[in-house]
């Protein structure tokens, strides 16, 4: 080959290489596909499944966007923020089937939610599970089947317990298969630290469709304790519907109780007691089961303090009454209610209760059609039950949901009606026992309460309607959006202020950002194409 020919070939090769450099990333050719969004403490997250990317959008002082894009897994099954909004959990099924070593494995991806937008951790999983339950205290995440993974063979009783405060290792995650008597997990509940006979423990309570299992989170090598709710012949078809946990007296180690509401009349009451002498068990506590018979199917349960001591409160809306069960003796005291309240919440500290001696509970309709709300003073429920209910006048609709407001306005609750159509939202002041109505014309209002407890944002998904309610003054500010909204989040800005981010789901997504403390159409920042680029 002549020198000129070699030179020519080298030049041609250079041109080809130069032309091949910097190929356009494939992401430019992929349309945006966002199914999951989440509000975090300092950012808004959007999971773009078409390019396997999580975009974490923080808000600058000037309401600008500071977007960090991070990789994520293939096949998003679930996305949840941590309760404090400091982290985002993304569960990905991975490539199924995996045909090569580079194919993505099932994994839990953990991202920072404070505004830094970092990928904090990635925990690989052995199987493509799709259920995700997050510990309210932020230590654990449990991955479990939800029955929709589509796997050819699936173990529905398999739990993957991940300590997200620790890095991935050979002992983290922990794979557990619950002993099953035919049921599959339906709900998981993390308890607070409980004083058990052998010391402080945290439990994971797993409700299957016919059993309840107690798993010691501090000793995951120990088998769980399973309580079978069905009769031995399987004819009663008892399904757990809710659990309530009470630690009991702080100075007692054997009075921790777990109440189980089911779809049948009656309540199961479990006492976590000291192991009897000589009893061999894998766990260092014993479970004593009592069944409390009731005439109706309860709709809600909760442990309360009354003038007669600790009780399990049970609502029976079909009889328009509540029952107070003494967990020691299982003696039941019945309290007639003015209507068929189906839900309750203990609001003692916010409703002017004595705090040290007895509780105050808020009652509302829930799934029943009961109109209005009432305060239930449990300090005189056992001795003078007929004087314990105070119905709040002015709430003229059935309340489906009660939304908590964080401090400093935690004396407030937002009462969400069954249907918004021409209806009202009430701002309940539990301290003064007043309910202030807020009218809205829309029938599908969503609500976002700020973490600092000062504001609530009302919006209607799919429309451009948005309003802010100042929870101190209840002054509404209706705001203008030039595009339809998917969700609204109230987040901390990088400068320490607060901003409301209304996400617009068209194209590569847009956002309108308001100064949350002083929202103004004129000063709002309107962003477009958030998910464009960044490859």
């Amino acid at each position: 080959m002549s020198r000129y020919a070699r030179t020519g070939r080298a030049a041609l090769l250079s041109v080809v290489l130069a032309a091949g450099c910097g190929e356009r990333p494939e992401g430019w050719d992929q349309p945006v596909s966002v199914q999951h969004v989440a509000g975090l403490s300092g950012a808004v997250a959007m999971v773009d499944e078409s390019i396997h990317r999580v975009s974490l959008v923080a808000i600058g002082k000037d309401l600008s966007l500071d977007t960090r894009h991070q990789p994520t897994g293939v096949g998003i099954a679930s996305v949840k923020p941590s309760p404090d909004g400091q982290k985002l959990y993304v569960l990905a099924r991975g490539v199924q089937p995996r045909l090569g070593p580079d194919d993505d494995r099932p994994a839990l991806w953990v991202y920072d939610g404070t505004g830094k937008g970092d990928l904090l951790a990635r925990y690989e999983l052995d199987a493509p599970l799709d259920g995700l339950t997050v510990d309210p205290l932020g230590q654990f995440v449990v991955v479990h089947p939800s029955g929709s993974s589509g796997a050819f063979v699936e173990n529905p009783n398999e739990l993957v317990i991940i300590d997200v405060t620790q890095p991935a290792s050979s002992t983290n995650p922990v794979l557990r298969t619950l002993r099953s008597f035919g049921g599959t997990p339906q709900r998981l509940t993390f308890t607070d630290p409980l004083m058990l006979p052998a010391g402080e423990r945290r439990l994971l309570i797993v409700e299957t469709d016919q059993e309840v299992s107690l798993l010691d989170l501090d000793n995951l090598d120990r088998p769980e304790v399973t309580v079978v709710l069905n009769s031995a012949d399987g004819t009663t078809n008892v399904k757990p519907a809710e659990v309530a946990v009470d630690e009991g007296d702080a100075d007692k180690a054997n009075d921790t109780r777990v109440a189980i509401r089911t779809n049948q009349s009656g309540v199961f009451l479990l006492t976590l007691a000291e192991l009897p002498p000589g009893k061999q068990a894998y766990n260092d506590f014993d479970v004593v089961v009592n069944i409390i018979g009731l005439s109706g199917v309860p709709s809600d349960i909760g442990f309360v303090r009354t003038d007669a001591g600790r009780r399990l409160a049970v609502l029976e809306p079909q009889h328009s009454r509540a029952s107070l069960v003494d967990p020691e003796t299982t003696v039941v005291t019945t309290v007639d209610l003015p209507t068929s309240y189906g839900s309750m919440a203990v609001v003692t500290d916010r409703a002017g209760g004595s705090g040290d001696e007895s509780d105050v509970a808020l009652l509302w309709g829930g799934d029943s059609s009961a109109i209005g709300v009432a305060f239930w003073s449990l300090g005189k429920s056992v001795g003078q039950p007929y004087r314990s209910i105070e119905v709040l006048t002015g709430v003229a609709s059935s309340v489906a949901r009660v939304v908590d407001v964080p401090a400093p306005n935690d004396v407030l609750k937002l009462l969400i009606p069954q249907a918004f159509g021409g209806g009202q939202v009430y701002v309940l002041d539990m301290q003064h026992r007043t309910a202030s109505p807020l009218f809205t014309y829309s029938s599908s209002v969503e609500m976002e309460v700020s973490d600092d407890g000062l504001r609530a944002w009302f919006y209607v998904p799919g429309t451009s309607s948005l309003a802010r309610i100042d929870l101190e003054t209840l002054h509404p500010v209706n705001l203008y959006l030039d595009r339809t909204t998917k969700a609204v989040f109230d987040v901390t800005t990088q400068g320490g202020g607060r901003a409301a981010v209304a996400l617009h789901p068209t194209g590569a997504w847009g956002a309108t950002v308001f100064d949350a403390t002083q929202p103004d159409d004129a000063t709002a920042a309107r962003h477009v194409g958030i998910l464009q680029g960044g490859f």
Binding site: A19, R24, Y480, A508, G529
Partner: protein, 341 residues
């Protein structure tokens, strides 16, 4: 008056022509006793009357004309060969202007070329500079010329800011330029001029139609080394201003998002040009060249901030999208044709 003058001039001309003929007819008064010979049947009167000497090549090339009928049957001395040939071979006389003397001395072996109406046969020594051959210029048109080019420029833009607007790194532009040789020193010459290049790409950016148009008006400074009369190599600098117009129809915005900005740039290329027509044997004016050059184009990097083209009074007018920075830098290749004169 003008008509009268023209008529007078025509009359004078006719008189002079008639006088010539008369003079010719009585050229040998003392030697002719016989009546004047009969006119030669093939001789054109005007040719006969032409006193000018005929070209030598024609005279030598027309021996068949010697038995001119004008000499038959008379005692008149034969006419000089030149006169005789002039009268019988008018078709061999060039109709163009008389060639320079030097050309008359050139060898006659080469046949006349079909399109070579006024140029000499190519010099036998190829390295010798061509002689000025145009009656209207004395410039050496192989080195010293005006040049107009039309071509295609392809740039390989690897900057990530180009990705939203094109599915590949290629940006093809139409390229035109005009230059004039300013300095010729032996085989080296220097030219300067102006250029204009423009082209666009379009794509979709995550489903949003997008496009970019780049226009580069620039100045050309070109140094040439003439390897041959028909070939030169060049180094070219083109400082230019690049007008970059980008747009994207992002559905989350109220209207098309656009940005137009100007930025400075510089192209540096090396190339070669070939006068293929002359190499093939012809040498027309203007001259025709094929050329190509290859190098790198640098352009200033700027932020891409696309703003909505919406009514100023609407909220959409505040929509803007930042896509980072863009520099339309990269290797470039130009090919095209040029005309020189």
């Amino acid at each position: 008056m003008r008509t009268s003058l023209f008529a007078l001039a025509m009359a004078a001309g006719s008189f002079a022509l008639i006088g010539s003929v008369a003079i010719g007819a009585t050229a040998a008064p003392g030697r002719v006793a016989a009546p004047p010979p009969a006119p030669a049947p093939t001789a054109a009167p005007s040719s006969t009357a032409t006193p000018a000497p005929t070209p030598a090549p024609a005279a030598t090339a027309a021996p068949a004309a010697s038995p001119a009928p004008t000499a038959s049957g008379t005692e008149v001395a034969p006419l000089p060969p030149a006169s005789a040939s002039a009268t019988v071979a008018p078709s061999a006389v060039p109709v163009g202007p008389p060639p320079p003397a030097a050309e008359s001395a050139a060898p006659v072996a080469a046949p006349p070329m079909a399109y070579n109406w006024n140029l000499p046969v190519p010099a036998p020594a190829p390295e010798a500079p061509a002689k000025p051959s145009q009656p209207w210029t004395t410039r050496d048109l192989s080195r010293n010329f005006w040049q107009l080019t039309l071509g295609v420029r392809n740039s390989w833009i690897t900057h990530e800011g180009f990705d939203p607007f094109a599915t590949t790194d290629s940006l093809t532009q139409v390229s035109i330029s005009g230059t004039r040789t300013l300095v010729v020193a032996g085989d080296v010459s220097l030219a300067a001029g102006l250029s204009l290049e423009g082209g666009s790409r379009s794509a979709t950016a995550r489903g949003a139609p997008s496009d970019i148009y780049v226009l580069r008006p620039g100045a050309v400074l070109e140094g040439r080394y003439h390897l041959h009369n028909n070939v030169y190599a060049s180094l070219k600098l083109v400082p230019h201003a690049a007008r970059v117009a980008a747009s994207i129809d992002e559905p989350s915005a109220a209207g098309t998002l656009e940005q137009v900005d100007w930025r400075f740039g510089m192209d540096a290329t090396a190339g070669v040009a070939w006068n293929f027509v002359r190499t093939l044997g012809a040498n027309p004016v203007p001259g025709w060249w094929l050329w190509t050059d290859f190098g790198y184009g640098f352009t200033q990097s700027k932020d891409i901030v696309l703003k909505a083209n919406a009514d100023e009074s609407s909220a959409g007018s505040r929509h803007q999208l930042s896509l980072g920075t863009l520099a339309v830098n990269g290797l470039l290749l130009r090919v095209g044709a040029a005309m020189t004169f």
